[in-house]
């Protein structure tokens, strides 16, 4: 049966309500506090490191995000690790939480379609994430200006903004994943555990698993050096299934203008190349665009999964 009208009627009001709920929730505050403290710690350590070691750099500002000082990892790797946690915290009980609180039928009693509920929940979560990330980004830039005593250049800002957008898509992937789990499982605890195990696998264990998988899929023939390359390619392709790896490559490419490729480089490709010369911002974005596109597409696929699953559910229980 076809119904008339836009399926998105009421999305805005649901999204805003959802965002407002998140903003005041203790869960969000706790996770955001964790992210904020680690981020400030990483950037503060990076500033100390930059002050003592770097003499002159055309892209000094971007080093704030990439320089690490033991035992703290760099800002960008902290973000790659902790932001999924924030997204999962926002999304893991988005749908099944409504069921368990028995509020879903009340929402759907309003003159809106079911589509609007899921879209609204996703967009509301994304909105909160965007606000959090922009705040975090501005805070880091402010810290950098304060402690380094120099303003970021135009290229610094452009790269930083693209990095911010890529970070939003990365957290969007995890939000959509958490949303999908919350529609697939009935219990919020189950969906939270499922989302957290995916997070642990992809952020920690995936890098250990891929070499094993690659050696099984394309074994090395010691008499054919090309098989070594083939195995490397297989390993890289497998690793890129993980959004965390894609995000890590994106961060490296965007925040280090001298990096020219994310794949293997042969000596013949380096002949005549001016090593260390920075790439134009557009070129870096072009190189890393497949990774960003992968993140966007992953986010959309995850959301579609959640959407299809939610639309087919019985909601009147």
């Amino acid at each position: 049966m076809k119904r008339k009208g836009s399926p998105l009627t009421g999305v805005a009001s649901i999204a805003l309500k959802e965002a407002a709920d998140h903003m005041t929730s203790a869960r969000m505050h706790l996770i955001m506090m964790l992210v904020l403290l680690t981020a400030i710690g990483a950037v503060y350590a990076a500033i100390g490191q930059i002050k003592t070691t770097t003499a002159q750099d055309a892209f000094l500002f971007l080093k704030l995000f990439t320089v690490a000082k033991a035992p703290l990892p760099s800002f960008s790797s902290f973000m790659g690790f902790l932001l999924p946690l924030l997204a999962i915290a926002l999304g893991f009980d988005a749908v099944n939480g409504e069921f368990s609180r028995r509020t879903m039928s009340r929402i759907l009693a309003q003159p809106i379609y079911r589509d609007a509920v899921l879209f609204g929940k996703f967009l509301g979560g994304l909105m909160v994430l965007a606000i959090a990330l922009v705040t975090l980004w501005l805070l880091m830039v402010g810290l950098g200006i304060l402690f380094l005593g120099l303003p970021p250049s135009g290229a610094d800002v452009a790269r930083g903004l693209v990095y911010l957008a890529a970070t939003l898509f990365y957290t969007g992937v995890w939000l959509a994943l958490a949303l999908a789990f919350s529609t697939l499982t009935r219990s919020p605890a189950t969906s939270a555990l499922a989302a957290l195990s995916v997070w642990l696998i992809f952020t920690i264990f995936w890098q250990m698993i891929t070499p094993l998988l690659a050696s099984v899929i394309s074994p090395i023939n010691p008499y054919d050096p090309m098989t070594m390359l083939a195995q490397f390619h297989t390993q890289q392709a497998l690793a890129r299934i993980s959004p965390a790896i894609l995000y890590g490559e994106t961060a490296t490419m965007l925040l280090d203008p001298t990096s020219r490729s994310v794949g293997p480089i042969f000596m013949s490709q380096l002949q005549g190349a001016l090593i260390g010369s920075p790439l134009p911002t557009m070129q870096s974005i072009k190189i890393i665009w497949p990774q960003i596109a992968g993140l966007i597409a992953g986010m959309l696929f995850m959301f579609t999964l959640a959407y299809v699953s939610f639309q087919r559910q019985e909601v009147r229980s």
Partner: protein
């Protein structure tokens, strides 16, 4: 004995004849080292190569003396000068030491120098005096004369070996010259060249390395001097005279020489990239054309101009036109440089060396090519996102509005 004295141009001491019987020893004389076909010398001799000398006023006189002992025993000889005018002084030197006697060994020649310092106010005339030698109780006399006179100086000359040279502005012109000191005393000559602006002259002694501004030349001697002239690159074509001078003091002789230098034009190539930039962008695996400009801003036509390039491996660089038979001076030629980076080139900057070569000149420029990432992956990325959106829209279409 007389014939010997004549053939050797020796001023023979009058008493030498008388001495011969006294110290006669013909047998011993045969042992004396002598020219193979000359007559034998016997006895004991005091001689002067040039007994009558002329000198200009105020100059000292050096007269070389020889004591020749052709006897079989050393002869102690007491030497003194008699008959010098009032105010004149003399000294006899043997290798720098003042001596008053000499004792040549048998079959030896003792070389001495008689230095006479005439009085400052000596009149211009001939003064006679004699050297007294007392050997074995016999006395010899060697009459000498010094004439104070106005002696015309010899010519001091500066003679270039090759006075006219030809070359281009890049040539270093070398003039070898002989500088002869015609005066009777050692002189330090200052060397200078009067050349037009844009010419730089340096001097060297002979084939030496040191640049000099002056050169000492002994009286009557000749030294070789090399003058090198380098030109500024903007010197126009033409003939240029250069005057070289070797000057000592205000009263001393000076020598001048005129050399000429013919400069012919030379081509000079200049290669500049599009809009005078030496960097450009190209995409990996596809050809990009860069309009270069080749200029000959030299002073002659450049012949057989060829263009070539050194590029990273796997790159293709071609030129249109690749060769020019001739590029006249002041003329400009547009050259399209087509650069195709290797399809495996990674994004970023690469150096390509582009070279224009003509007869005798070449010009190389380093062109910085920024390889851009192929947009293929960008399109594929957009496609993947589009597929994801289509799937989402399809899901909305299929399951939407419940």
């Amino acid at each position: 004995m007389k014939s010997l004295a004549k053939s050797a141009s020796f001023a023979l001491l009058g008493a030498a004849m008388a001495m011969t019987p006294l110290l006669s020893s013909n047998a011993m004389a045969e042992a004396f080292t002598q020219p193979a076909n000359g007559p034998a010398i016997h006895g004991f001799w005091l001689t002067a190569d040039h007994p009558d000398v002329a000198v200009s006023a105020g100059k000292k006189v050096s007269i070389p003396l020889s004591l020749l002992n052709a006897l079989d025993n050393p002869v102690r000889t007491k030497l003194a000068v008699k008959g010098l005018p009032e105010g004149w002084t003399y000294s006899i030197k043997a290798g720098g030491t003042d001596v008053t006697s000499a004792m040549p060994l048998p079959n030896e020649i003792d070389n001495l120098t008689l230095k006479v310092d005439p009085a400052n106010d000596a009149e211009k005339k001939t003064y006679k005096f004699e050297v007294d030698a007392i050997a074995n109780g016999d006395q010899f006399k060697l009459p000498l004369s010094v004439a104070i006179a106005d002696i015309p100086l010899g010519d001091t000359t500066l003679v270039p070996e090759l006075p006219a040279l030809h070359g281009t502005v890049n040539t270093s012109f070398q003039y070898k010259m002989k500088l002869t000191n015609g005066s009777n005393h050692d002189t330090l000559f200052n060397l200078s060249a009067d050349a037009p602006a844009g010419f730089m002259a340096t001097f060297k002694k002979g084939y030496g390395n040191e640049e000099i501004t002056g050169i000492p030349v002994k009286a009557g001697a000749t030294e070789s001097v090399t003058m090198t002239i380098k030109l500024n690159h903007d010197v126009a074509e033409g003939d240029y005279p250069i005057e070289v001078a070797a000057v000592a003091g205000p009263d001393d002789p000076a020598a001048k020489a005129k050399v000429s230098l013919k400069v012919s034009g030379s081509p000079k190539l200049l290669l500049s990239g599009p809009n005078d930039r030496l960097s450009g962008q190209a995409t990996a695996g596809s050809e990009t054309t860069f309009p270069f400009v080749l200029v000959n801003n030299g002073t002659a036509a450049a012949n057989k101009v060829t263009l070539s390039a050194t590029s990273p491996s796997g790159w293709k660089v071609s030129f249109d036109p690749k060769e020019l038979a001739k590029l006249d001076e002041g003329k400009t030629q547009n050259v399209n440089v087509k650069i195709e980076p290797s399809s495996k080139a990674i994004a970023g900057d690469y150096m390509v060396h582009i070279r224009a070569k003509a007869d005798g000149v070449s010009k190389e420029v380093d062109y910085r090519v920024t390889v851009e990432t192929s947009t293929m992956w960008g399109i594929i990325g957009v496609g993947i996102i589009a597929i994801a959106v289509i799937v989402l829209l399809g899901a909305i279409f299929r399951y939407g509005r419940r």
